[in-house]
């Protein structure tokens, strides 16, 4: 076991635990933001640099601070380590910089983006970024491509977190897509226009933190915050699929089916394409009850639980937003038709 101090809070975790996972044990809200790390995906993390934290003391044995900020998602704790997340101004400043970097070439077409409302980049930018841009250059764009009949790739929105690549590597036999090209010309692609066609390909949609990989059967049907998430299950015949899903309702219609996610926004169990794309009738499912969605973005304010905002955000929030929030406290999630 290793005892660490994280933003002034002491916690004991098994050796080998990463700083990120130690912090998550304190509650998701206190943990550093993660744009690329994804617990179920081996090898993920270390890329987006959103989760950089300061290690003020390396360990009890060697209490020197680490010279650079470290990626908390891949850095294991040491006994006696002292970690600063929001208690370090340097961390907050660097994080602002990371938001800026992720946004300079991002289209910010949230109003027409299916991910809006459940987008990690929106949340990250809202909580940690600044609302102006210093970028005056032309933004990088790509054409949209259909990768098969069920999934659309909107590369312009991709933040190159590699999650979909790891998903395909680890979940399916024979990955057919990957990162092509280099630097800011890198793109997710299938090299020759290829179909991502296997029973579990739909999971790349769920792991994508942004609206780069979207469910074509749901495209433009509804803003997510106007749909009602309901947990359901069925006896799926696919051996690797547990058939436990979240159905997203508008009225009595199931608009889409996704995997269930935990409090950190990570998929709990992968689901097969049949459950995701072909079972869109209530009669296909046994309903378990409303899904518990716990999000911190105001984009979800219409529906989800009261957002918990960190002090920094409240301090930076425009007065008009504060007033609005005070007058219209976000409603708690109601029942099926609430």
């Amino acid at each position: 076991m290793a005892k660490i101090t994280y933003d002034g809070i002491e916690i004991e975790v098994p050796d080998g635990t990463t700083i990120m996972n130690a912090a998550r044990q304190l509650g998701g809200k206190l943990a550093p933001p993660a744009m690329c790390y994804y617990t179920p995906l081996k090898g993920s993390g270390g890329k987006c640099r959103a989760c950089l934290v300061r290690v003020a003391a390396g360990s009890a044995k060697d209490p020197r601070p680490m010279p650079k900020l470290v990626a908390s998602c891949i850095t294991p704790v040491q006994d006696g380590m002292v970690v600063e997340n929001t208690t370090s101004q340097q961390v907050l400043d660097v994080r602002k910089g990371i938001v800026e970097m992720l946004l300079i070439n991002h289209p910010l077409d949230c109003p027409v983006c299916d991910q809006a409302g459940e987008c990690d980049l929106q949340n990250f930018a809202f909580e940690h970024g600044i609302s102006t841009t210093r970028y005056e250059e032309e933004r990088r764009t790509f054409d949209k491509v259909d990768i098969g009949p069920l999934i659309q790739l909107h590369m312009t929105r991709c933040i190159l977190c590699y999650r979909c690549v790891y998903t395909a590597d680890q979940l399916t036999d024979g990955r057919v897509h990957g990162v092509l090209g280099r630097g800011d010309a890198s793109e997710i692609g299938t090299y020759i226009e290829n179909v991502i066609d296997n029973d579990f390909s739909g999971n790349v949609i769920d792991v994508c933190p942004v609206g780069a990989l979207t469910d074509k059967t749901f495209r433009f049907k509804q803003r997510v915050w106007l749909t009602k998430p309901v947990d359901a299950h069925r006896d799926c015949t696919h051996e690797k699929c547990g058939g436990r899903v979240t159905l997203w309702y508008k009225g009595n219609d199931v608009l889409r089916v996704t995997a269930r996610k935990d409090e950190n926004g990570e998929v709990k169990e992968w689901i097969c394409n049949e459950c995701r794309f072909d079972k869109k009738e209530t009669s296909d499912w046994v309903i378990d009850g409303p899904a518990h969605i716990d999000r911190s973005s105001v984009v979800s304010a219409n529906h989800y639980e009261l957002p918990v905002l960190n002090q920094q955000v409240i301090a930076d929030m425009p007065e008009s937003t504060m007033r609005e929030l005070a007058q219209n406290p976000p409603l708690k999630l109601g029942g099926l038709n609430g």
Binding site: M35, M101, L102, E137, R182, G183, D184, S186
Partner: protein
């Protein structure tokens, strides 16, 4: 004349063949090491020599070797980094072209020291003709019994493979190199774990630059202490410097560590001064990623001491008034050089070569290039100058691999030392874009 430890026989006719190389004392270090020394004794000599990695970072080679993990029953590897792609650096290419057997001899002696039974030379893909030279030399070494099974009857086996890259600067970063060697996309790995613990195929691995490995035979032959007598302080031995830009005699020079920069630029033994009778304006002393210095600071430190060609002297003053020896890519610029244009050009390179894995480098390198392009072409504004410094700072220290810093340092250093030139581009956009017009020392040269 300084001593030439690596290049003494470089101009001997046929030195690229096994027989001629052998006649000139080649492969003695292999015999000496394998027949008379234990592997640890070889490591000890390299430690004593004070040899520091010649690939850029200057990490002590002996120390790196002693960090290599040696779990029972697990193979370990030596990988030679011959990806040399940093603008201004072209010493390894010359060494491999002219003296292929020196590198192979170094690989055998070093592999023996590390207990590696399979070793690799990862060579830059553009150097296909050098690959052919090396392949021929390797075949000769196998035929002569210096590679393969039971080398010199000692029971020590070694296979040496040469693997070409596919044209990516990033594959010179040691962990990207290992990924590429494994047949994957050349993305740098997160560290730790370091290669010494988990490198090629997740096995303990040492990665060394061509020139570092080429220095091992002479260290073994003459002894580490003897090697360490050359040079000053922690900069021991000799160093290959590839001199280019506006010098009279560009080329590759093997210098004893400690030669004054002024002597290196102006003496006829080395660069022979600045070409066309012009004046020196600035120097990038160690490959495109190290900070540029104006003439006065490259010739003398801020304290007024003569600047020497050593790790310590070149970095005297930190990044405020100093730079780095880096890989030894020495780029001299005369007064007709536009620093803004040069900085943009370097930025363009790093933008093109970023692997794109981590957001600050992927996005930041492109941003830097675009703003520098505008500045150079007369479309910049005053606040753009602070913007590029700030963007560079946002990259620096926050990335997976040091390419982030390599992209940031040239920009911050150029603005630090030549801010007036950047400002002139903003205030005089028409003049700045006039062909041939260059701002230098407060004057505009037509």
């Amino acid at each position: 004349m300084g001593r030439k430890l690596l290049t003494e026989h470089i101009n001997v006719e046929g030195i690229d063949t096994f027989d001629v190389y052998r006649k000139h004392g080649g492969y003695r270090s292999v015999e000496k090491a394998i027949k008379t020394m234990t592997p640890d004794e070889v490591v000890e000599e390299v430690k004593k020599s004070g040899l520091r990695g010649r690939g850029g970072a200057g990490f002590p080679t002996g120390m790196k070797w002693s960090f290599l993990a040696k779990p029972e029953g697990v193979p370990r590897y030596l990988v030679c980094n011959a990806d040399e792609s940093e603008p201004g650096t072209f010493k390894d290419r010359q060494l491999m072209t002219k003296l292929p057997h020196l590198l192979i001899e170094g690989m055998i002696t070093s592999s023996y020291a590390l207990g590696a039974r399979t070793s690799y030379i990862y060579i830059r893909g553009e150097l296909l003709y050098v690959l052919r030279i090396l392949e021929k030399a390797v075949a000769e070494a196998y035929a002569a019994g210096f590679l393969g099974k039971n080398i010199l009857g000692s029971g020590y086996d070694l296979d040496l493979h040469i693997h070409p890259g596919a044209g990516a600067y990033i594959c010179g970063e040691e962990t990207a190199l290992l990924e590429s060697l494994e047949g994957k996309r050349g993305n740098p790995r997160n560290k730790p774990p370091f290669p010494a613990v988990s490198g090629l195929y997740a096995r303990p691995t040492v990665v060394n630059n061509v020139e570092s490995i080429a220095a091992v035979p002479v260290i073994v032959n003459e002894g580490g202490n003897e090697y360490a007598k050359i040079g000053i302080g922690k900069s021991t031995g000799t160093k290959l410097i590839s001199a280019c830009g506006h010098v009279k005699n560009p080329g590759i020079y093997e210098i004893e560590m400690g030669v004054p920069v002024e002597e290196f630029i102006y003496s006829d033994e080395y660069c022979g001064g600045i070409w066309k009778g012009r004046e020196l304006k600035a120097v990038v002393a160690g490959g495109s990623s190290v900070p540029i210095l104006p003439k006065d600071l490259i010739l003398k430190t801020a304290a007024g001491e003569p600047r020497l060609m050593t790790y310590e002297s070149l970095s005297d003053g930190g990044f405020v008034t100093g730079t780095m020896l880096g890989s030894g890519g020495f780029i001299a610029m005369d007064e007709t050089t536009c620093i803004v244009k040069n900085t943009w050009n370097f930025s363009r390179f790093y933008h093109h070569e970023s692997c794109g894995q981590c957001s600050p480098c992927r996005e930041g390198t492109g941003w830097l290039e675009k703003v520098l392009h505008r500045l150079e072409h007369g479309h910049g504004q005053m606040h753009d100058i602070d913007l590029i410094v700030n963007v560079a700072k946002q990259i620096e220290g926050n990335t997976i691999c040091p390419l982030g810093e390599a992209a940031a340092w040239p920009v911050t250093a150029a603005v630090r030392h030549f801010r007036d030139e950047f400002e002139w581009h903003v205030t005089h956009p028409h003049e700045a874009t006039r062909p041939g017009a260059v701002y230098h020392g407060g004057l505009v040269l037509a």
